[in-house]
């Protein structure tokens, strides 16, 4: 067990897989120097020829990685900003995610795409998105979202070992967070959420930077005598329907926190999963239905806050609505 930052945990996960599997390679812009997020530091020296700087053409190098994956390599692509995922959607959605089906199982695509997402970093409308929603509806893809250094380590390793294309969403504001990682922990398949706190009055579901906010909100609610269940999704696709449905059915009240627009996101899917399983009162805490404003005051106002979560939870509890 070591204490590492979230970004160091990513590096440690990449190093562990580069070490254990000679077919693993890393591609991306400036990755040879450590990358702009400082997540590949030292790897080019430690693994000569396997950490490859690419030209600024996301579709070209992701297409190359797709081809390499089909032919038996295990490439890890760094897309500098999640916003640039739009540039690679053709190879990711039309080719990589469908190849196993289209080839009648002749070849799978063990491709990992890592990308930095999230607002709050003063990067403006085109460098702050968390484009999870658009990829939620793509069969054949897996999407993971680490909220802690421990998960930055474990989920990255799980993603690399997965036989299918996986997108790892890393949150820019979490890179500096420190926490313990366990390098001896087993690398388990993707798909389980984490139950971070137990409570019976309301279920708070979040991902990425929203998890910290949900935990603080749960503390505040606890002082008011409202006990909250807190779930960190960890995997956005597949969703851990069992954990979501069990908690929502037990508390009867569900709040989903998503730092993204209100339509078409994982918050909507979590609500649907819970409602299909049992009657439940729901609320979503999301950003406004607008591109992210550039002004820092407006950006801060657009982000979900602890206060937003607390208010939404209080409103559900105080409405007196009870199900079941």
């Amino acid at each position: 067990v070591r204490t590492l930052s979230y970004r160091e945990a990513v590096t440690a996960a990449l190093a562990a897989e580069l070490e254990s599997d000679p077919t693993v390679v890393v591609l991306g812009e400036d990755v040879g120097l450590g990358g702009v997020w400082v997540t590949t530091t030292g790897l080019a020296d430690r693994f000569p020829g396997r950490v490859i700087d690419t030209p600024i053409s996301e579709l070209a190098f992701t297409g190359a990685a797709f081809g390499a994956a089909v032919r038996g390599m295990r490439p890890i692509v760094e897309i500098m900003f999640g916003d640039f995922l739009w540039l690679v959607t053709d190879t990711l959605v039309n080719q990589a995610s469908k190849y196993w089906y289209l080839s009648n199982g002749q070849a799978s695509v063990p491709l990992t795409i890592r990308t930095a997402v999230g607002a709050g970093g003063r990067f403006g409308a085109c460098h702050s998105q968390t484009p999870t929603g658009a990829l939620l509806g793509e069969p054949g893809l897996k999407l993971v979202a680490p909220a802690s250094p421990a998960d930055a380590y474990l989920l990255t390793r799980s993603a690399i070992r997965d036989e299918n294309p996986v997108v790892v969403f890393e949150h820019k504001l979490l890179y500096g967070r420190r926490g313990e990682i366990d390098e001896e922990a087993p690398v388990v398949p993707i798909g389980r959420a984490a139950h971070l706190r137990r409570g019976g009055d309301v279920t708070l579901v979040a991902a990425l930077a929203g998890v910290e906010k949900a935990l603080v909100a749960a503390e505040t609610l606890g002082e008011d005598g409202i006990s909250a269940d807190v779930i960190d999704l960890r995997s956005l696709r597949p969703l851990d329907t069992e954990t979501i449905a069990e908690s929502a059915a037990r508390t009867g009240r569900l709040i989903v926190v998503e730092d993204g627009p209100p339509l078409g996101g994982y918050a909507a899917e979590v609500v649907a999963v819970a409602a299909e399983a049992a009657p439940v009162h729901v609320a979503r805490v999301t950003m406004p239905d607008l591109p992210l404003p550039a002004s820092m005051r407006l950006e801060d106002a657009a982000l979900t806050s602890v206060e937003d979560i607390v208010q939404a939870a209080r409103a559900l509890v105080e409405s007196g609505a009870v199900v079941g």
Partner: protein, 88 residues
């Protein structure tokens, strides 16, 4: 009239790329010497070039001062904004 201008990126593309990581330093230096602003200044009378420079500096400083003096936008008012422009 069609003007074809062959241009060159003076600086790097990110904080890590200083501009000489993926290009020979000599090539970057040659292009910097051909900077069209420097070449234009060289063919103007010195006092005209100096006056233009002062004028442009003043415009930029005034714009920065305006921006600094402007009130912060009001989140409550902006929240009512629409992401799309509606036909009147």
């Amino acid at each position: 009239m069609l003007i074809e201008a062959r241009t060159y990126r003076h600086k790097g593309h990110s904080r890590l790329d200083t501009g000489e990581r993926y290009r020979p330093a000599e090539e970057v230096r040659e292009w910097l010497e051909r900077d069209p602003l420097l070449r234009a200044a060289a063919i103007l009378p010195a006092e005209v070039a100096a006056a233009l420079r002062r004028q442009v500096d003043a415009e930029i400083e005034a714009a920065v001062a305006d921006a600094r003096a402007a009130p912060w936008p009001d989140p409550d008012r902006e929240r009512g904004a629409s992401a799309t422009k509606e036909r009147a």
